[in-house]
Structure formats: C-alpha cells, structure tokens
C-alpha cells in the first residue's frame, strides 16, 4: 500500500520543494534521519506523524529555523546552501506556527503587512496600507480596520496565512492549523486553503488527524521515529486505517469503551442550581464509575460548567452533594478547595496551566498531593518518590526517569504527566478538558484507556471535548450544551459520530 516517494517520475519542474537525505542530530539524539521527499507545486502536502516523530524538526529545517546536519534542500531545483529564516522567506517559504503570531492591539490590516508597511517619505503610507489590505482581505470576511485581538481563532489563522502570502509566500507550512478550531471553523479554513491552492500556492500541512489529511491533502508523507515511514502522492487511495498504520508502524487498535447504563444507580455527585457566567444548569447527577461527555460549540457552556465545578470560574450560585452522606455544600471557590473535596481537573491548555515545565516529572506528579507525602510540612523523600514513580509507571510516560524536566517531553507525554498529577490526588470526580487535544493517535488511546480503567474503580469522570470521535469512544452519556445549559443528553447506542456531528450547524 505504501508508495515510496520517488521524485523522478515527473518532470523536475513540477516540484517546488525537494529535500534529499535530510538529517538532524541534537546532542546525541537523531531527530531526523535521511528524509527525502518532494512536494509538487500547487498542492497541499500532508505531513503526518506522532509527537516526536520529527515533523517539527523537518519543517524547522525547511523554513530555515534550524540547520540540517546532513542532506540538501532544493527550492525550484536549486540547492540551498546554509540558509536562515530570512533567506527562506525571501525565497518564498513561510512557516505559520501553531500560535498565530499576531499583535493584538494592532489592526488586522497592520498585522497583515507587519514588517512591510508601505512607506512614503519615511512615514507609513496609511492609505496604501489600508487599500492593499482591503484587496487582500476581500472575500475572507475579515475587516481590515478591526483590532486583531478581537478576531476569532479562524480569522487569526487566515490572517497569518495571508501575511505569509502577501510577503511573497509560494510554499506555506502550516503547523497544526486546526488545533482549537471548531468543525465549522475548520471547514472555513479548508475552503480558504483550497482557494489559495487554486491560485498556485503550495501548502505543507501538519496534522494529527487522519480525516483532515484525507479531506484536504493531495499527497501525504508520514514520519516515524525521525525517518520517512511512507507516503503517497494519491491520498484518495488511502484509508484512515492505512494512515494510522503508517504513523504507528503497526495496526492501531482504537479504544472503544463498553458503554453502560447508569440511570438507576445512586448518584455519586449531585450538582444543583449552577448559575455562573454564561452557564445555567439546574441539575446534573454523576454516577460512580460513569464517564460523561460534555460537548457543544465553544461558549455553549460545556467548558464553562467544567471550570465552575472545579472552582476556576466563580459562580453566582451552585451546590454539590456527594453520596457519602455529607451535607450539601457550595461549589468549590478555588482549585485548592476542589482538590480537597475530591474534584480534580485537567486543563485543555497544558502549556498555560498544565505542567510546570522546568520542574521534574516526579515533582509535577506530586504537586497536587504534596500534603499526602509530607509530615508537618516536611516532604518525605521516600513517600514522594513512591507516589511519583507509581504514576510515572501507570501513565506509561516515555522518559529516561521521573527526574527529567517536563520541558523536554513531547506534548503527549506532558499530558500524561498532567494526568498523573490529577490522578495522584485520588479524586472522586475527575474532569478532563480536551484531554487528547494536540496529542497523537497512539497516546490518545493510552489516555482514553487510563480513564476507562479509572472509571472502573468508581470515579465519576467528565470529559469535555469537541472531538466527536473521542466522545463516542470514551463515554457512557453525552450532555450537549447550548446557550449555557444542557440542551440534550444521549446515552448508549444513541451516541454516534453522525448524531453528534449533525448537531453542529453546517
């Protein structure tokens, strides 16, 4: 099924970018090994691979951010000697990173032409700037005069792509551009990319998602362990399962939870009368061992409710009662209170509020349960080590030891560290906000499996997710949020991808 990449089958001029035997060594570790691939002009070329497979390294080399240890990059069949970002951008190769590089307080038009503002007598020629920007932005739905900070996620991505084009971009590398986008946004972005493709722009598109690759790419290359695992110039001939197998190097068994009905069980947790900023939920019960999915459009209340329950967002009212016979109490007012009453939460943004990067894996794992490994304020080295080692092993974190700084781990492993930290608190209620966002398909199965096992011990789990596939695979019941409240619930066989997707406006 694998079609090895061969650059010679077509006229050489067809390929805008070729790399030959590209290699990169960091310290003693080989990050990239003899990767050769060719990218046809005016196509969207997918780049797929697990976290740490070498995708970022490869595009880092292509965009001139880093220098290859070996191999050659050809642009329009001209070999490029030592290059840097500036040279590559002059040559028309642009990298659009995950975090849109946008200056919030400037207007969309100013951002669009950042660094190349038209000048007149040494002053910015505002009229020309606005006119040029308006021309570029026509049909994109972006108002050039708008403050960039007020733009939504998809508009920001578009703005970055446009900026790359406007600066003369012929080859635009998009590093996971769909992260944090809704289904609708994604569709919009893809339409936009197709339009630009028709104008002759070439894209290198990095993604974790097979369906995205199959949807938009013309060709695909798959990296595994720093080497080219395979690829195809005809994506239409590939199936999702074949892609996954290429990515992982083995058949991937997708996790599927055996759904159970908990309707008659006594609730482990009763949530009542929750009123908070853009949330209004009169009642929600969680049963022991149940996994509940929260889904809905951004701002519809799924994420908001989760943050209220954990005490990250202050509420106007709201009570919680546990089944252990304790009295009804107000919702926690801080994460610390929440942990104390047995509620744990894993944030969707592990860079911002997940792990402490410079601290070790072990110190991160024990961070939320320090008092349990201490006596009168003094840490017990043995107890802490035992705790962190236990979760280091249980999570299957791939690192030489728990002493390693979290900074050095891939995204998926960082997420496992964060998961280990919240599980170490031995919660009664576990809330996971987009637990598998931005992590590769293999680690994703690991995470869902861990959650499944945990639920068997009687923990009630909430998974907040906009990934319908994840919801269908992991939960017993889905709460669909609209306008800040639970509009509908699906259970058992009602939970299907189609039904969940159909609820998204199209």
């Amino acid at each position: 099924m694998t079609v090895p990449m061969t650059a010679g089958s077509q006229a050489a001029g067809d390929y805008v970018l070729k790399v030959e035997k590209l290699g990169k060594v960091y310290g003693g570790a080989i990050a990239l090994r003899d990767v050769s691939l060719a990218i046809r002009r005016g196509t969207i070329h997918g780049l797929l691979g697990e976290n740490g497979a070498g995708k970022s390294t490869l595009v880092g080399l292509i965009s001139g951010q880093r220098q290859p240890s070996s191999g050659t990059i050809y642009l329009n069949d001209v070999p490029l000697a030592h290059s840097d970002v500036q040279k590559m951008e002059e040559a028309g190769v642009f990298l659009v990173t995950q975090e849109p590089m946008i200056i919030d307080h400037l207007s969309a038009a100013e951002n669009l032409m950042l660094g190349i503002w038209p000048r007149r007598f040494g002053f910015v020629n505002w009229r020309k700037l606005r006119a040029d920007a308006a021309r570029m932005l026509a049909g994109t739905g972006i108002d050039g005069a708008m403050r960039a900070g007020a733009l939504d996620a998809v508009a920001r991505r578009k703005l970055n792509i446009l900026r790359a084009m406007f600066s003369g971009g012929k080859v635009i590398i998009l590093d996971e551009p769909t992260a944090a986008l809704t289904v609708e946004d994604r569709k919009q972005l893809f339409d936009f990319m197709r339009r630009l493709k028709a104008d002759g722009v070439t894209f290198i598109f990095i993604s974790h998602y097979n369906d995205e690759i199959l949807d938009i790419c013309d060709a695909v290359s798959v990296l595994r362990d720093g080497a080219l695992a395979g690829g195809s110039e005809d994506v239409g001939s590939l199936t999702s399962a074949q892609l996954s197998e290429l990515v992982l190097g083995r058949g991937l068994v997708l996790f599927q939870r055996e759904r159970r009905s908990f309707a008659t069980d006594t609730p482990a947790v009763e949530l009542r009368d929750i009123v908070g900023p853009s949330v209004r939920v009169p009642a929600l019960d969680l049963r022991p061992g149940e996994v509940v999915g929260f889904t809905g459009l951004p701002g519809a209340g799924a994420k908001e409710l989760a943050r209220c329950i954990f005490g990250l967002t202050p509420v106007e009212s709201g009570t919680i009662r546990f089944a252990d016979g304790s009295a009804t109490q107000d919702l926690p007012t801080s994460p610390r209170d929440a942990f104390a009453s047995g509620i744990a939460f894993l944030s969707d943004d592990r860079r911002r509020d997940g792990a402490i990067g410079q601290m070790s894996i072990g110190a991160n794992i024990s961070l939320s349960s320090l008092t349990s490994v201490a006596r009168s304020g003094f840490l017990s080295k043995e107890a802490e080590l035992a705790l962190s080692q236990r979760y280091f092993d249980a999570m299957g974190i791939k690192a030489p030891s728990a002493e390693v700084a979290v900074d050095t781990l891939s995204g998926g492993n960082q997420q496992k560290v964060c998961l280990g930290r919240v599980l170490a608190t031995e919660p009664r209620v576990l809330i996971l906000d987009e637990p598998t966002r931005g992590i590769d398909v293999g680690v994703k199965q690991d995470v869902l499996r861990i959650v499944d096992e945990l639920s068997r011990t009687g923990v009630a789990v909430i998974i907040v997710s906009t990934d319908t596939d994840e919801i269908t695979r992991a939960v017993d019941r889905v709460c669909i949020f609209e306008n800040g409240t639970i509009a509908r619930e699906l259970t058992g066989s009602e939970i299907t991808n189609d039904r969940l997707r159909g609820l998204e406006p199209s």
């Binding site: 060594v25 310290g27 003693g28 570790a29 080989i30 990050a31 090994r33 697990e50 740490g52 497979a53 070498g54 595994r224 362990d225 720093g226 992982l248 190097g249 990250l312 801080s334 994460p335 610390r336 929440a338 942990f339 104390a340 939460f345 944030s347 911002r352 509020d353 997940g354 792990a355 402490i356 990067g357 410079q358 601290m359 110190a363 024990s366 961070l367 939320s368 320090l370 008092t371 201490a374 304020g377 003094f378 840490l379 299957g396 791939k398 891939s410 930290r421 608190t425 293999g442």
Partner: protein, 333 residues
C-alpha cells in the same frame, strides 16, 4: 513501545569524546561562580599576602553576613518571579525603629530589636498584599516603597547618625568566640534554614512551582497569592535581621543606612544562578554570589587599588561572572 525519538548509539568514539569535553566545559560553566571566586582569591592573595591571613578571612565573613542576609531576602521574591527593591531600605528603616524603641521610648534593647524586626516583617507582608491582592506590579510597588522607607529613615533621624546603641544591642556584631566573630554564624543559620525550607518542605516546593508557572500552580491547587505573601513576609523578616546585624556591627545607624547594599543585594543572588524569571535558584548559589561580591570588594581594597578605580573594576568583575553565566544558559541548557 519504542515509538519515541531514537537515541543515537554513540558508535563513533569521536562523538563520545566530543560529548565528554562538552560536559566538562558545561561543568566549568555551571560552577563558574565558585571557580571565579577561587581564582580571585588566588589573584588577590598573590598581590598581597595579607589576603590569605585568618584576620582577612574573618573580615570577609563578617562583611559577607549583612550582604548575605539581604541577598537571601532578595532571592525569595525572585524565586516566585517577583522582585523586592525595598529590602535594603527596609533594613535601614526597621533598624532605626528598633534603635529608637530603645533610645527614645525607653524599652530594653531586646524588645526594641524585636520591634524593629517586626516592623520589617510587616513591611514585607504589606508589600506581598499589595502585589497579590491589589495586583500592583512588584517592580514599581517595591520601588515606591523603597523611596518611602528611605525618606522615612531620613525623617526619623533628621539626617543624624544614631549612635547611642546599648551594649546588648551591639554585642552580636562585636562578640567573638576564640577570636572568631559570631556574626557570620547567624548568616549560616539563615542559609541552612532557608535552604531546608526551599528543598525539604511542601512550602518550598510550592515556591518553585509558583515561580515556574503561576497559572498552572493555581490549577494544581496551590494558593499562589498566599505563597507570594509568605515569601515577601519572610524576605522582610530577613531584611529586619540584616538591619539589626548591620547596626550592631557598625554600632551606628546612618540616615541612609542600607541604601548602598541595593545593587549588590540584587546582583548576588542573580550571579548565584537565581533566575529573575522565577522558579530557578538555590541558597548555595546565593552564598556563591555573596562571597564573590564580598571578595571583590575586600580584595580590591586590600591590594590598594586607588579608590577611584574600585567601582569600575568591581563592576567589570561582576560583568564577567554574569556574562559567563549567560553563555552557559545560552549553550548548555
């Protein structure tokens, strides 16, 4: 499961040798403060044999005490990614309050001293409140507090130097055991105490977490504000003790007591590897920074560098230490 990045087997011996020399250089750069310290001691000693005498070593230890206490205090807010510029001014102001409690209000010296340290601690606590609850920017808040306290000291003393300190009060600064001054002992106690607090306690772990990523720390169930307030309070307390020690050692409190320590007290922990961005640093580093600065000061005086040049040469030596450290961070971490 071996799906992570493959680590290259170090087959060519060249790679091994390269890694070896790299780690050796890394070690040197990592311990640059201590190596630089030893080098300077040797150099100063070669210029003037007196530098190696017990007397001079004692002098360096005494000199290092006040700077050390202050450096420790400054390091604490740095660890939580904040700063406290008011600590040296706090030192001067609080010691004056303590001295006046004795001289003007007729209290015995010991309660007077405690009042001084208490005032210093409270000022630290107040700074912490302003920075956490009012969300004031620590750089500016403590800068204004510094100016207030310097002004208050001037107002208290009316520009005069307080010298009528009781024998009890000045005892700690003058006493010796077997010829060795006991003042440095206080610094050692503080160093060990803060060291244990930071590395062995739940609180210390939280300090590093808050410094590393305050948002994540909050989500992890740490009360970030409380940690910062505690840190500022503790820094104020240490400044208060430093104020007492300085007054006791000098047997005087000038109208700008402590102000001259400001830049050195900030430089010492940073030279010692405490990151201004928070979450990194330890007390051993602070000790190294303090000793380095003290040796430079004392050494330049001993080898009779004309006083016009002392500032410039001292500054240059600090610059070298900081530059080497920056190179280490740039290439080895």
């Amino acid at each position: 499961m071996s799906r992570t990045m493959t680590v290259a087997a170090k087959t060519p011996s060249q790679a091994g040798a390269k890694a070896g020399s790299r780690s050796a250089l890394g070690w040197v750069l990592h311990n640059v403060v201590w190596i630089w310290l030893i080098a300077l001691v040797v150099i100063f000693g070669l210029f003037n044999q007196f530098f190696f005498t017990v007397n001079n070593m004692q002098n360096i230890m005494v000199q290092a005490t006040v700077l050390g206490m202050l450096g420790l205090a400054v390091a604490l807010p740095l660890l939580v990614a904040e700063i406290d510029l008011s600590l040296p001014a706090n030192l001067g102001f609080s010691s004056a309050i303590g001295a006046m409690a004795y001289s003007d209000w007729g209290l015995p010296w010991f309660p007077g001293m405690l009042i001084g340290v208490g005032v210093a601690t409270f000022i630290g606590f107040f700074n912490g409140l302003c920075i956490t609850k009012l969300k004031m920017v620590s750089l500016i808040q403590t800068l204004s507090m510094m100016i207030i306290l310097q002004g208050a000291l001037l107002a208290l003393t009316q520009g005069r130097t307080i010298t009528n300190l009781s024998d009890g009060y000045v005892w700690i600064g003058q006493a010796t055991i077997g010829g060795w001054p006991i003042m440095p002992f206080i610094f050692v106690v503080a160093l060990v105490g803060v060291g244990i607090l930071l590395t062995r306690t739940v609180f210390g772990r939280r300090v590093y977490a808050v410094g590393g990523n305050p948002v994540a720390s909050n989500s992890a169930g740490i009360r970030v504000d409380s940690v910062k307030i505690m840190i500022y309070t503790l820094a104020g307390f240490l400044a208060g003790i430093a104020g007492f020690l300085l007054a006791s050692w000098q047997m005087a409190i000038t109208s700008n007591q402590g102000s001259s320590y400001l830049l050195y007290a900030i430089a010492a922990p940073i030279i010692g590897g405490v990151s201004v961005f928070g979450g990194r640093g330890n007390v051993i580093g602070v000790l190294g920074g303090v000793l380095l600065l003290t040796v430079i000061q004392v050494g330049l005086a001993i080898i009779s560098v004309p006083s016009f040049y002392v500032g410039m040469i001292g500054g240059f030596m600090i610059f070298v230490a900081v530059a080497i450290d920056a190179i280490r961070v740039r290439y080895f971490s």
